[in-house]
């Protein structure tokens, strides 16, 4: 994971009760849609967001929140292959695609 890269970032986690992939959206809500994800370019804002994602209340809703790199300016998407797969589902089972 390119933690030190300067790419804009989103915050992702897995939902506690069912393991679903979720992204931190506006108003601290966790959404399964990447389109809802808050994209952060500023390191300071990122830290604040990650801290709030790791707060006790959130940790009862999600597991292991982390920041991930995004790419694409107008239509951001996860940058790494791993996060693309988390978003879309296993590449070998397109019938089980998430979106």
């Amino acid at each position: 994971m390119a933690k030190t890269s300067s790419a804009p970032k989103a915050i992702t986690a897995n939902r506690l009760q069912d393991g679903e992939v979720v992204y931190l959206a506006a108003n601290g809500v966790w959404s399964t849609l990447f389109a809802d994800a808050v994209i952060v370019a500023d390191a300071g804002n990122l830290k604040a967001l990650l801290d709030s994602a790791s707060s006790r209340a959130n940790l009862n809703e999600v597991v292991d929140p982390v920041a991930i790199d995004t790419a694409g300016h107008d239509f951001p998407s996860p940058a790494s292959l791993r996060e693309k797969i988390r978003l879309r589902g296993p590449t070998v089972r397109p019938d089980l695609a998430r979106i």
């Binding site: 390119a2 009760q17 069912d18 393991g19 292959l81 797969i85 070998v92």
Partner: protein, 550 residues
């Protein structure tokens, strides 16, 4: 096979109830993830890329049809209609919800199954030769020993917080189909010169970051002292295994650091005490367990039909017989291997429908028993030869009759980056493309026995170190990259594959594998299988072909 008494059954039910309470405490926030995680791992529940993954234990790879029907139902009820059989004879479900997992454990308990200790730093599922009890020339059915170890290791109070996971495998035959030399403890059961059953104990084998072939630590251990010996090994490991670095925490590191002689000396010191502390099973209990693995009531005076089938069969049936059927120790019977490697398919996956079909077939035509191999295939262990044609037709109807067992397209692959949060690269698409490249059966038979094993990360769940051709997926600057190694083997001639050279991109790795196979075909002696050719030739001719232009 073993069947639970009230003690076994109560324990499994109480374990499921305990987990239900732990999940409730987690969901309510009374338990943090940090404290809950090892507890959920003790019941085989991982958090993977897409959802929770549940690994259900299939002790020594043996299932009744009733159990397989339940595994199929679980796939439908709680998952997405399929399960994945693993290289340790277990089954995995990839789309599990935490809140439903206690219900799954209850369903499993109803058919004498569980997910106890299938992950975490504990003693894991004890695996065995998948042909146990039915292959000719076995010294003893290793599953008896496996069941004894299973009960001893279940919720063992001293060994539930080990430095790292602990894997044990047992074989009762001279041919090692259980890869015992690549386990933390590998046990070979044999008869000594007086015909008495003894155990040879190998300790410190493993795959992963630092592969080792486990050295022989104790020869000819009386079978009646096995548990007290295992207690000695586990205690030394629990006390002296490294806990400062998870990459150096397996027992193989301790054995290597101390050297076999010193390690053995420390075990013997501890064993001198444990063997007189009443830890071994009374003989009556051993006999009670042994009785469950007695020979089933085979029919006698059955016709031996294999010869007849070979004469009048269709080519397709003949191809399947050739790949899938082995002689059985009982006259008139056969061992049938079911390939879960359709050309271009996902290795080791089976749909709900396929699992139900196999379970029904087993109930009717395999004395109600199924096995899971270490190579992600299934076995019907007690098929009458006169029923082989009917079995084949039933398997064809479900897409389960690919005649490729042991051939190049019978690929072993971990789930890889498509599913696993530990992975660096995808493994399944590589397996699919290799399979398609070598789809043509005549070519496969020409190549002969060839085990390709693919792992998507260094943890090596695809057993790439033990592949005749091993492929390891790595992440090179964000791109999937694949290293090829040759000459590994998990059988009794155990060897670790040797790295061929610089890795290959996703685009070029399949060509590279094809190049390796072509090199073998060009240079082999008549009748020489791939593994032996590599051992004879060494890597130089393969390097020359593969890296000719660089």
């Amino acid at each position: 096979m073993y069947s639970y008494d009230t003690f076994d059954q109560t324990l499994v039910e109480q374990r499921a109830a305990e987990f239900r309470a732990q999940v409730a405490r987690r969901l309510s926030g009374d338990l943090t993830e940090e404290h809950f995680r090892p507890l959920r791992l003790l019941n085989g529940l991982y958090l993977q890329l897409h959802a929770y993954m549940l690994r259900v234990a299939i002790p020594y790879g043996t299932l009744s049809s009733r159990q397989l029907h339940m595994l199929a139902d679980i796939a439908t009820k709680y998952d997405r209609g399929y399960g994945h059989f693993t290289t340790r004879q277990n089954i995995q479900y990839n789309w599990i919800k935490l809140e439903e997992s206690p219900d799954i454990l209850d369903d499993l308990a109803a058919v004498e199954m569980h997910a106890i200790q299938t992950s975490g730093n504990v003693i894991r599922n004890v695996t065995a030769d998948h042909f146990a009890g039915v292959i000719p020339n076995e010294a003893d059915d290793p599953r008896i020993t496996c069941e004894i170890i299973r009960q001893w290791s279940t919720l063992h109070p001293e060994f539930s917080f080990l430095p790292r996971k602990f894997k044990i495998a047992v074989t009762g035959a001279a041919e090692d189909r259980a890869a015992i030399r690549f386990h933390d403890i590998g046990i070979r059961i044999r008869r000594d010169t007086a015909g008495v059953l003894v155990n040879d104990i190998y300790v410190g084998g493993g795959m992963g970051r630092t592969p080792f072939v486990g050295p022989l630590v104790r020869e000819s251990l009386p079978e009646s002292e096995l548990l007290s010996y295992l207690e000695a090994v586990l205690r030394v490991y629990n006390r002296y295994g490294r806990r400062d670095n998870i990459y150096k925490a397996r027992i193989k590191i301790l054995v290597d650091a101390l050297g076999v002689d010193e390690f053995s000396r420390q075990i013997e010191l501890e064993f001198a005490q444990t063997r007189v502390e009443g830890l071994d099973l009374p003989q009556e209990e051993v006999q009670r367990i042994r009785a469950f693995f007695a020979e089933p009531p085979y029919e006698t005076s059955l016709p031996s039909e294999l010869a007849k089938h070979h004469e009048v069969s269709t080519p397709a049936f003949h191809d399947w017989l050739r790949a899938s059927v082995l002689p059985h120790k009982a006259p008139g019977y056969a061992i049938v291997t079911i390939s879960l490697k359709p050309i271009g398919g996902i290795p080791g996956d089976a749909s709900t429908q396929q699992m139900h079909a196999i379970a029904s077939l087993a109930e009717r035509l395999s004395l109600d028993e199924i096995r899971v191999t270490h190579e992600q295939n299934l076995v019907l262990p007690h098929v009458r030869q006169i029923d082989l044609h009917e079995v084949w037709k039933a398997l064809v109807a479900e897409g389960l009759a690919t005649p490729n067992v042991g051939l190049v397209s019978d690929i072993i692959s971990c789930p890889g980056l498509d599913y696993c949060s530990l992975a660096n690269a995808r493994s399944i698409p590589i397996a699919q493309r290799i399979s398609e490249r070598f789809a043509e059966l005549k070519q496969q038979h020409d190549i002969g026995p060839l085990k390709i094993k693919i792992s998507g990360c260094i943890n090596g769940c695809g057993h790439h170190h033990a592949g005749h051709i091993g492929i390891l997926g790595v992440d090179r600057k964000g791109e999937e990259f694949y290293q090829i190694m040759l000459g590994g083997s998990g059988d009794e001639t155990a060897s670790i594959g040797e790295l061929l050279g610089p890795g290959f991109s996703s685009d070029t790795v399949v060509d590279a594998v094809a190049n390796v196979v072509k090199t073998y075909l060009d240079l082999r002696h008549p009748g020489e299988i791939f593994l032996y050719a590599v051992r004879r030739l060494g890597l130089v001719p393969f390097k020359e072909r593969l890296y000719a232009r660089s």
